[in-house]
């Protein structure tokens, strides 16, 4: 009898151990909520003003072209881009004001509003469309999402997030994002059309902290509909909280030489 009790005692003492181990492991693997991740990404994109210089290399598999541009931003609704190289495109400017986009063409000295089917064209023939530039609403406002697990991207632990657009005005009705668990930056995004066809793959790398924000110094955008085509944007420098002329975000700035 004593031996039976002893056996039972050992069994009941040891049996919960695997369960405890499992519970501990589960606690470690606890997924963040989609809301938390999207709010964190949105918070990272908030700034009063920003200026940066970048290099964009468009490689369509035939002849790579390199552009240099200066970018100004104020909040989420105002942005201005001026191309300074190559010589042919020097002086070309773009201005985003809310939901409107304007393009200044220096040869004809004309300001052209970009709308309708033009929005789908690539900026300077790149894989970044004018439509991509226009997107300014927060992730949280545009998408409802769920975290589906954890994966490794470029050796970094990432949360996998599947997001569906809340309405049909959003450019990409579906996204799958891999959010870096540490920096909370989307290291990789796959953007889908309503049909489920993958339209673009957007990757970010060389993440650095600048004035308390995470900034991706390298972005690679591949248009899945154009075989072998990709655009690489490298940030040369970026500054937040700069004093910008009010005129920068006006049509007068576009036409100024």
């Amino acid at each position: 009898m004593f031996s039976r009790i002893a056996v039972l005692a050992v069994v009941f003492a040891v049996a919960p151990l695997p369960l405890v181990a499992l519970a501990e492991e589960a606690a470690e693997q606890a997924l963040p909520t989609a809301d938390e991740l999207m709010k964190a990404m949105d918070a990272n994109l908030q700034y009063d003003t920003r200026t940066s210089t970048s290099t964009m290399v468009v490689d369509d598999g035939r002849r790579p072209r390199t552009y240099k541009m200066v970018t100004y931003g104020r909040g989420q609704d105002e942005a201005a881009i001026e191309y300074v190289l190559p010589e042919r495109d020097k002086g070309t400017k773009m201005l985003k004001q809310g939901d409107q986009l304007w393009l200044y063409l220096p040869r004809s000295e004309r300001v052209q509003k970009i709308s309708g089917h033009m929005m789908r064209q690539g900026m300077m023939g790149s894989d970044v469309s004018y439509e991509d530039l226009m997107s300014s609403d927060s992730f949280d406002e545009q998408y409802s999402a769920r975290v589906t697990g954890a994966e490794q991207i470029e050796g970094r632990k990432c949360w996998r997030l599947e997001a569906d657009a809340k309405d049909d005005t959003v450019t990409y009705p579906k996204r799958i994002m891999w959010i870096d668990a540490e920096t909370l930056m989307p290291l990789k995004q796959e953007l889908f059309a309503l049909s489920g066809m993958k339209m673009k793959t957007w990757t970010m790398g060389d993440i650095r902290e600048v004035e308390g924000r995470q900034v991706a110094y390298k972005m690679v955008i591949a248009d899945e509909l154009k075989q072998g085509s990709k655009t690489v944007i490298t940030v040369d420098d970026v500054t937040f909280g700069v004093e910008l002329e009010a005129e920068v975000f006006s049509r007068r700035w576009l036409e100024r030489r």
Binding site: R110, G122, M123, M124, G125
Partner: protein, 413 residues
């Protein structure tokens, strides 16, 4: 044979009214065929000649561009077009080679772009002078001087844009890489020549290269020879294809460029259909006449068969009579149809402008079409008349040959 011919003449004179009526049927049929073929030859002959002049006797294009030409892939261009021009000019028989670019662009007179889209042609001044003869067709202003930021508009296009000489035009297109590209040339002239020219805009080659960011390139090089005949062009095409400097570039004779390979069988088919229809209808007339003739002369045929006329001879009797009618009708039809065709060759038929717009913006077609009477369609008329006669007479003649002499003579009694 001479006896058969004499008998044929005699039999034809037996019922003059019927003979003339039958001959008239053949005449009308062959006249219609002559006129129709002259008309088709005129329209398509002009179009083919004009297309060869405008599109080049031989065209050099990037092979990948040719494979997907309907998508107009601007990036599949000839990057060093001057080298291609030089290579072409070295070939014996080549009288000229010119680089050219054609692209589409949105066009606007004022600040706002609308829905006006047009084709923009950029070519060398030499091509404009020697091949398009642009300056000869100016109706307002002048032709391009070769300076940048000038444009000459086709008459229809200028009207559509409501723009006049001296005003600025905005052209918004794309570079070969797909980025937006603009020009703001001044309209220096308005031109009118045919449906294609009237709907296009013409700029300098340098402006077109800038607009498409094409460097020293061109979309095509147009090569011209001493004649556009296939025998002249074949060795030129072969030489261009074998030139190592033109690797990746395809030479294409004008006759193998769409829409001609598709259109020519259609035209031949239309001619054949018209001829067949006329052949069928007028053969019925001959058939009717010959059948009645056989029935009326059953006894006579019987006597002749009894006297030694062979079956073949009986067939020949009626066949020769029919052929006689056919020759008369055919020659008459050729004269009548040829005369009408020659009238249309001089005066022409003018189409409604709207109809032409719908049909012909891509082709160098004029509003007035002229026929082309030539030995070919006149010969066709006479041969057709003979064929009509032969086909129509075949069955009755065969029946005549089957008549038994005894049966025929009994019927005569």
């Amino acid at each position: 044979m001479p006896m058969l011919i004499r008998l044929a003449f005699r039999n034809a004179r037996r019922n003059v009214r019927r003979t003339l009526l039958t001959a008239a049927t053949v005449l009308i049929g062959t006249a219609l065929v002559t006129l129709a073929t002259a008309w088709l030859d005129g329209i398509f002959g002009f179009m083919m000649n004009a297309m060869a002049d405008v599109y080049g006797h031989v065209r050099l294009v990037d092979s990948d561009f040719l494979a997907r030409e309907e998508l107009a892939p601007m990036y599949e261009n000839i990057p060093e077009s001057d080298r291609a021009v030089q290579a072409a000019k070295e070939i014996p028989g080549v009288t000229g080679a010119y680089p050219r670019i054609t692209t589409g662009a949105l066009m606007a007179k004022g600040e706002e772009l609308g829905e006006d889209f047009g084709l923009v042609v950029g070519a060398s001044q030499d091509w404009y002078d020697e091949r398009l003869h642009g300056a000869d067709h100016i109706i307002e202003g002048r032709w391009l001087s070769g300076e940048k930021d000038e444009v000459v508009l086709g008459r229809k296009l200028a009207g559509q844009l409501d723009i006049a000489v001296g005003e600025e035009l905005l052209l918004l297109g794309q570079t070969q890489y797909g980025s937006m590209s603009d020009l703001a040339p001044t309209v220096v002239g308005i031109v009118s020549a045919d449906a294609m020219v009237d709907n296009q805009a013409y700029i300098t080659l340098d402006d077109a290269r800038w607009m498409l960011d094409m460097g020293e390139g061109a979309l095509e090089v147009l090569v011209y020879a001493e004649s556009k005949e296939a025998e002249t062009l074949a060795p030129i095409v072969a030489a261009l294809g074998a030139d190592p400097r033109l690797d990746g570039i395809t030479p294409q004779a004008w006759s193998s460029r769409e829409p001609l390979p598709t259109m020519m069988p259609m035209v031949d088919g239309m001619s054949a259909f018209i001829a067949s229809l006329v052949l069928f209808i007028t053969s019925l007339a001959i058939f009717n006449t010959m059948t009645m003739s056989v029935m009326e002369r059953t006894g006579e045929i019987g006597v002749m068969r009894a006297m030694g006329l062979s079956r073949l001879g009986a067939v020949a009797l009626f066949a020769v009579e029919a052929l006689l009618i056919g020759v008369i009708g055919g020659i008459g039809g050729a004269v009548l149809g040829g005369s009408a065709g020659m009238y249309l060759e001089i005066v022409g038929v003018t189409l409604d402008e709207q109809l032409l717009d719908q049909m012909a913006q891509a082709y160098p077609m004029k509003q007035t079409f002229y026929a082309d009477v030539n030995a070919g369609n006149l010969t066709t008329a006479v041969v057709l008349g003979v064929c009509i006669a032969f086909v129509g007479a075949l069955l009755p003649a065969w029946r005549a040959s089957r008549i038994q002499p005894v049966t025929a003579m009994k019927a005569r009694r």
